[in-house]
Amino acid sequence: MSAVKFTRKQFESFVSALIQSGRPVMAPQAKNGRYAFGPLAAAEEFRLDYDVTILPPKKYLLPQTETLLTYQVGGACSSVRDAEPMILLGVHPYDMVAINQMDELFRQDQYDKHYMDRRCRTTIIALDVVTPSENVFAASMGTATVKSGYDILLTVLPDGSILADAATDKGQELLDPAESTPAAEADLKARKTVWDKNEKALNKHVLECKPSYLPKLLENAYDHPVWEEKARLCYSCGSCNQVCPTCYCFDVQDQVSWDLKTGERKRCWDGCLLENFATVAGNHNFRKDRAARYRHRLYRKGKYVPGKIGGQIACVGCGRCITACTAKIANPVEVYNRLMEDTELG
């Protein structure tokens, strides 16, 4: 495995070659003044300088809607796996960490073939952040840079050239045919300055404790007034869930085709902030209070999911929920800092 350096022009050729390889290339592009991952038609559409995308690249691994099974109505089901090879280009470190966590959650215990098959066929080209977004706090969460999960890591160096570092054979095979120069020691040093800069710059909201302290912090915060205070303004719209790179809850529903003979069992994104998330048949809602749902999300990020993935905190500091929340109550840093203050006082 080796690192190479691209000039801008060489990089465009590299991206063009990816597009021409026949596999769909999904990359961040400008969209109505913001950025979104989408199929890349031309190399120049790829925005190396994007700050954050509206939705995380999770949507390609756990699509908003996906067919799990097909069936004859009332008959037997058969398994569907439609994953095709795909390249995710320009995945920011915080989103890469989120994908790494999701890999572990879908792989562990009961192996989810639908997710894993898609994941195994995906090549990920990560990209160090060039422009910090208005609400990013990845530096507080230890996700401003990333060390694993990608096949290639791209870094835009201060001189405008692009360092590409292959981490897997899959990545190396993509770099091999591209015109580039081997990276020099000085280039790796320059990359280090980018990392150091991002460790400071991606911190628009500053968490007052180490993220690893959050599970402990939440141990004694269950009855804190902050849940009720924040949730009083909550619309239960689930926007915070929908834009989150680590939210993976889903619903499963049967859809029948127009001829009423065949159909598909589909899973689609769901969100624990939505009012009926925990409602069972007979209309009993086990989490009917907004405050309980609001608290559940922050406990999942800071305590419950970490318990399943070796203590990794399931908030990667992308800041999307802060931007998406109409009521401006979704900022996890505000809540955790508030709990910190009161813990210190107590």
């Binding site: 037997a76 796996r81 215990d109 049967d254 069992r265």
Partner: protein, 278 residues
């Protein structure tokens, strides 16, 4: 398919089962006896559940009511949603999709030698019956068996013939009550907690298993606390929306526990730090 996925089965793919017997237990509860089309019985333990589906309608978690000591699979389905309404229309010979079994089990080994007390409210009898039948089929392994059954009204009583047979047996005690008095009912009237003082077994030393509607747990647990029953001798069987059954979809979560994997049977003392549970 990619190489790493080879050898893993699709965890969402149901097997087909055929309805071999069906009958209504009351106005809303349908009893089903199923046999797997594979010809092999499901390898389950008392307390577990299955995901039952009709392709085109949907899927839902249903408790297993039979014991692994018997052949086939028995379920009881309340007519309450679109899927269960469709299941109620099925006849013997019709097919259902079945995934599982999933979830934790009653402590059938640890309970050996102990007196067993089952406290059942309404359809809470359904999953408890799996353990009751298992204990009856291994009668020498267990001490006294006491079953308390509370039902809202006389007409909603489940498994009446079976309960009548249990009541005739000398090696077990079955106490029944209904919430609302009825002309045809000359037994106890009142909620199920009113039966607790009538238990003859040494309560603090017994293994107590509770299943019923959410509101019932609070009152039964209070009564057991007053009777000095240690919390680690109490088992509760909780209902949640176990949509996937395999610990992924998040719907059945109570705090950090997944009812589909950590439950549905929980030792009550393990729920001390799980405020959403009861």
């Amino acid at each position: 398919m990619c190489e790493c996925c080879n050898g893993h089965k699709d965890i969402y793919l149901p097997e087909m089962a055929t309805i071999t017997k069906r009958r209504m237990l009351n106005g809303t509860e349908l009893y089903l006896h199923l046999e797997m089309d594979s010809g092999k019985d499901l390898d389950y333990r008392p307390g577990q559940f299955v995901e039952v589906s009709i392709a085109g309608i949907g899927e839902a978690p249903i408790s297993i009511s039979s014991s692994p000591t018997q052949k086939g699979l028995e379920l009881v389905v309340r007519n309450i949603g679109s899927l269960t309404k469709a299941i109620h229309k099925l006849q013997a010979g019709d097919k259902l999709g079945v995934r599982g079994p999933y979830g934790s089990t009653y402590p059938i080994e640890q309970a050996k030698g102990k007196d067993l007390v089952f406290i059942c409210g309404g359809i809470g009898l359904v999953p408890q019956r799996s353990f009751i039948r298992y204990a009856l089929d291994n009668r020498r392994d267990y001490g006294n068996i006491t079953i308390l059954i509370g039902t809202k009204c006389y007409t909603m009583r489940l498994f009446r013939e079976e309960i009548a047979l249990w009541q005739e047996r000398k090696d077990m005690t079955v106490l029944e009550t209904v919430d609302e008095a009825h002309d045809c009912w000359d037994g106890n009237v009142g909620v199920v907690t009113t039966l607790i003082p009538k238990i003859e077994s040494d309560l603090p030393k017994s293994l107590i298993s509770i299943c019923g509607p959410p509101i019932m747990y609070k009152f039964v647990l209070m009564a057991l606390a007053e009777a000095d029953v240690p919390e680690n001798n109490i088992f509760v069987n909780l209902e949640r929306r176990m949509k996937c059954g395999v610990g992924k979809c998040g719907h059945c979560q109570i705090n950090d526990k997944y009812v589909c994997q950590d439950g549905p049977v929980f030792r009550y003392s393990d729920l001390a730090l799980v405020p959403e549970a009861i």
